[in-house]
Symmetry: C2
DNA sequence: TAATTATTGTTAAAATATTAATAATGGAGG
DNA sequence: CCTCCATTATTAATATTTTAACAATAATTA
């Protein structure tokens, strides 16, 4: 990566889309693409694509474009997808189970070591051979296993407490599905999936579209 | 709403957070808040909060601040949350079921009329009293019922086809969980929940944090 | 009821992000 | 091996977003 220059969040959030389309292209045996073709696919401007990629170094070649396989690998490295990650899921309710069941999660190199819940009816059950454990054992489990990511799928009332247990035991990355703002210490990465907010954004655009057409 | 001026997506996506914190404040019997206090809660600057709200008209009062109840109602109206919405879910797999089971969805005024799937083992089953129907009946169902929102939870291969059925039958809002870019006609709102991209963003920050501390 | 204070609404400035322009360069074709 | 072309890398211009400043004004206090 180019030294020093800070890379904006907006750039980072476009990378997965490039990565996905590059994967598609490779599947279709297309091994070369220009920024303007990639622009047609992704909807971002060609200029923006070139600028984004240049934040991390020159992956393309003048007069030729980008090698799809190479670029796919490079973006994968930037996103940290060249490594495997061990994950635990806190909360084995609807969303927790859905995540644990989601096949794509495993294909991309994430390994779910365990789920945790406080509901005695769930404890002991297995999802895809992964045991649902008692949340009281959470702290001990993290100490005894190399866990990199915690996924928080608990109700919002307990989410901060769960996050505290995770960070106190050295976990540095949290994927949060609870609709609250979790506070974490410096050096811990947190990524929120805000389903409510996403849905409300949809209702906004739906409602304002309705207004426009009625007027 | 103030006439004419286009409101940026970034503003819209901050509104749900204001809405949520205002709800919390009301629950705690706090009926007045200043932009600077709201800033502490949300993490947005006070200036930004005032600007955001002013896009829609002056809800506050100089020297006083904002009335939490009034502002909550107003933002609710802006987001279209003052109405009930009838929803169908396409794809009754992990995520489709999780959404159907999610209680908050109902509390906020969304009513799930039906789920649809092509898997004969699922067809006929019920989730929270909502029937899983044959996807072959999807088109007819929409024609015979007032459906406002479609939630797409199918694998990516079939998602575009499902969206086409929805839009051909007049649905104007789609909440998409499939990891592809769905194309919809003008006037149809689509909101994507990109779990992959969210996760990859987390791996990026996790990986780059690691690098920083190692260097 | 007048003065003071708090806080908004609004305008101006600064920062950031996006798009456009262009110079550099490798590849393809003759 | 030279020329031309395509397309990147990079710089410059533009647009957008965020932050700061301040004037207007309602609430509070004396």
């Amino acid at each position: 990566m180019k030294k020093g220059k800070r890379i904006s969040d907006a750039v980072i959030r476009r990378l997965p889309k490039y990565y996905r389309y590059l994967g598609d292209l490779i599947s279709n045996d297309i091994n070369r693409i220009s920024s303007s073709e990639l622009s047609k696919l992704t909807g971002f401007t060609a200029s923006q694509i070139r600028q984004d990629l240049n934040n991390f170094g020159g992956f393309g070649q003048q007069g030729y474009g980008y090698d799809t396989k190479r670029l796919h690998v490079e973006i994968g490295k930037i996103l940290g997808l060249d490594k495997k990650y061990k994950v635990i899921i806190i909360g084995a309710g609807n969303i927790g189970q859905a995540i644990a069941n989601y096949a794509g999660f495993y294909e991309e190199g994430f390994e779910v070591l365990a789920l945790f819940d406080k509901n005695p009816k769930l404890i002991g059950l297995k999802i895809r051979d992964i045991e649902i454990k008692d949340v009281d054992d959470l702290s001990a489990f993290i100490k005894n296993n190399e866990v990199e990511f915690g996924v928080i799928c608990t109700p919002k009332e307990t989410s901060q407490d769960m996050a505290d247990i995770l960070t106190e035991n050295g976990i540095k990355a949290i994927w949060n599905f609870a609709p609250i703002d979790i506070k974490v210490p410096e050096g811990v990465s947190i990524e929120d999936v805000r389903l409510n907010e996403s849905l409300y954004t949809l209702t906004y655009y739906y409602a304002s579209n309705r207004e426009d057409t009625e007027e």
